[in-house]
Amino acid sequence: MTASAPAPVSGPEKTSFREELRAAMREALLADDRVFLMGEDVGKYGGAFGVSLGLVEEFGPERIRDTPLSESGFVGAGIGAAVAGLRPIVEIMTVNFSLLALDQILNNAATLLHMSGGQVSVPVVIRMTTGAGRQLAAQHSHSLEGWYAGIPGIRVLSPGTLQDARHMLAPALADPDPVVIFEHGSLYNATGPAEPRPESFDIVSAAVRRSGHDVSLISHGGSLPKVLAAAEALAAEGVSAEVLDLRSLRPLDGAAIAASVARTHRAVVVDEGWRTGGLAAEISARIAELAFYDLDAQVERVCGAEVPVPYPKHLEDAAIPQVPDIVAAARRAVG
């Protein structure tokens, strides 16, 4: 199959995270007819979160392919189609249901290249919603990015800005290896001005979203708006916080983490996942390995409480990182 030139996709002045994800898929579908989208209700329904709304009307049901409730089956089929040379985007409604497909992701997608001695490539992109915050209770509120980030053989991305929502997909599709993209459910309605693709754009580097010199707030995805709000609150108290957006959770940009800590000498790691053995634990270890002598204070972690996320608002709020928790941790670090 041949790749045709992408038609210009003109965005509105003001856009949303959801619209940017959709525009990215539309552009990919226009650019390369090996690309197709499949998942539960991605067609007429427009996806559980409305991300693919309108795509089936434009690209038809072959390329915007509704699947039955068979996560292991259709994720595995996406892997197989990728092995055969297509470029599938597989949407899993949420990370909670991805556990039914974890065997395919871990034992096949992440493993085939190595197991086959380099013969079998799996250029699949798997998108899924993650996170809590909408009172959906334990089985709909997991944040398992850290688990996925522990799997060699896959790339794990966590867009937290409109720009990343818009521009991460193309390089993910160009990657010859499997890429898992986490979309935090609280971000879909985030709005802002549409921004053009920056000159230098990649899916490996962390990005400084706010500069500061007293403490580094290291985070990603759905926690990013909270961390930025915390930095604002800290500024009002005279604490200058730097906000580092990891963007890629695997591989981690260790150099950027170390550089930030070298500037501020203090680190607070914020992740909605469980604390024990989680992403924040890994980042803390990296800091200990890469920036130990730059540290003036112990590393602070603000993580999801180690409970299945409860339904009532007051308990859910208490179970996931909140702005005051981040501010308090930064204050402790600054001492």
Partner: protein, 355 residues
């Protein structure tokens, strides 16, 4: 084992199976025992109407409470499908176990989980049937052998097989009933469970609520073979389709299946042909269904359908409706007044250590 299973009232001639209610693929059921008095039958039907009215009133109130922001999260309404819950429950004894889905308000209420405890759960209050931790999708009442609201499609099926396995291994004569949707039949967990249950002759009643849609996907886009009972039968279990809008037909089918299970004939599968009158959840704009289709199904609303069979003058439907609404009013008032779990107790129930 002391079985307090209620005897079925003999169906009257006009309760003959509706068209589309097929014969079992593998005949295995014993015939129902005969003939209690007609007044008993009327009483029984009144009870079923009462239960359906309570479920309906409960959910209609939930819609209001959701709109006002009192109830949050996902709510999946059962409106239109009530005959399945009350009909199946009528065939179960208090010893039997029930495993359900996220669309389980009706199953819980039919099972006898107190309406106050269910409403308090919707409010996330400490007096809720799951201490407020679960909300709409996770109603539990183990005392009534109601093993929950499961929000992973298909997730309850293997657990139900395990409950049934335990009964079989300990020689207890009782049934585990698992509810799930047509969409769940596409999941591996359904097929693994069906095979295990048939292989091990488990006392498991599989009740598929075929409402023709899995969220926005119609049955024929979900399944290559849409005769779900036939597929279940291929695992070697009796399986048949039932008019799920007709509570009497549902009860009769469930009794027949339960009798077969208790006679040692292993798992049974019932495909309940039903329909949800509302959207999949409160988030769903319901763009994928034809309004005329919804109207056609509404004409077979299970409540008037059953009420219409009562002897003339046997019931004052308006009065029954008001009684159901009053019970829901009391439940709302109690839930409003109830305490929430203190934040300090966040870690309670994670393991027995913390409980």
């Amino acid at each position: 084992m002391n079985r307090a299973r209620k005897q079925p009232p003999e169906p009257r001639a006009d309760h003959a199976p509706a068209a589309g209610s097929a014969a079992p693929h593998r005949a295995a059921a014993r015939e129902a025992p005969a003939e209690p008095a007609v007044s008993e039958e009327t009483k029984h039907l009144l009870e079923l109407v009462d239960q359906m009215l309570l479920i309906r009133a409960f959910e209609e109130r939930c819609v209001e409470l959701y709109s006002s922001g009192t109830i949050r999260g996902f709510i999946h309404l059962y409106i239109g499908e009530e005959a399945v819950a009350v009909g199946v429950n009528a065939a179960l004894s208090p010893d039997d176990a029930v495993v359900s889905t996220y669309r389980e308000h009706g199953h819980a209420l039919a099972r006898g989980v107190p309406v106050d405890a269910v409403m308090a759960e919707m409010f996330g209050k400490a007096t809720g049937c799951s201490h407020g931790r679960g909300g709409s999708m996770h109603l539990f009442d183990v005392q009534r052998r109601f093993y929950g609201g499961n929000a992973i499609v298909g997730g309850g099926l293997p657990i139900a097989a395990g409950l049934a396995l335990a009964d079989r291994m300990t020689g207890r004569s009782r049934v585990t009933c698992c509810f799930f949707g047509d969409g769940a039949v596409a999941e591996g967990e359904f097929h693994e469970t069906a095979n295990l249950a048939a292989l091990w002759d488990l006392p498991l009643l599989l009740v598929c609520e075929n409402n023709l849609y899995a969220m926005g996907t119609p049955l024929e886009h979900e399944h290559a073979q849409t005769d779900l009972a036939m597929r279940a039968a291929s695992y070697g279990m009796p399986a048949w389709a039932v008019d799920g809008m007709d509570a009497v037909a549902v009860e009769r089918a469930a009794r027949r299946a339960v009798d077969g299970i208790l006679a040692g004939n292993g798992p049974h599968f019932l495909e309940m042909r039903t329909y949800r009158f509302r959207a999949h959840s409160m988030y769903d704009p319901d763009r994928y269904r034809d309004k005329a289709e919804i109207e056609r199904w509404r004409e077979r609303d299970p409540i008037p359908l059953l009420a219409g069979r009562l002897p003339a003058g046997a019931a004052d439907l308006q009065e029954m409706r008001e009684r159901a609404a009053a019970a829901v009013d009391r439940a709302v008032a109690a839930a409003e007044a109830a305490p929430v779990e203190p934040v300090e107790d966040l870690y309670r129930f994670v393991s027995h250590e913390g409980s």
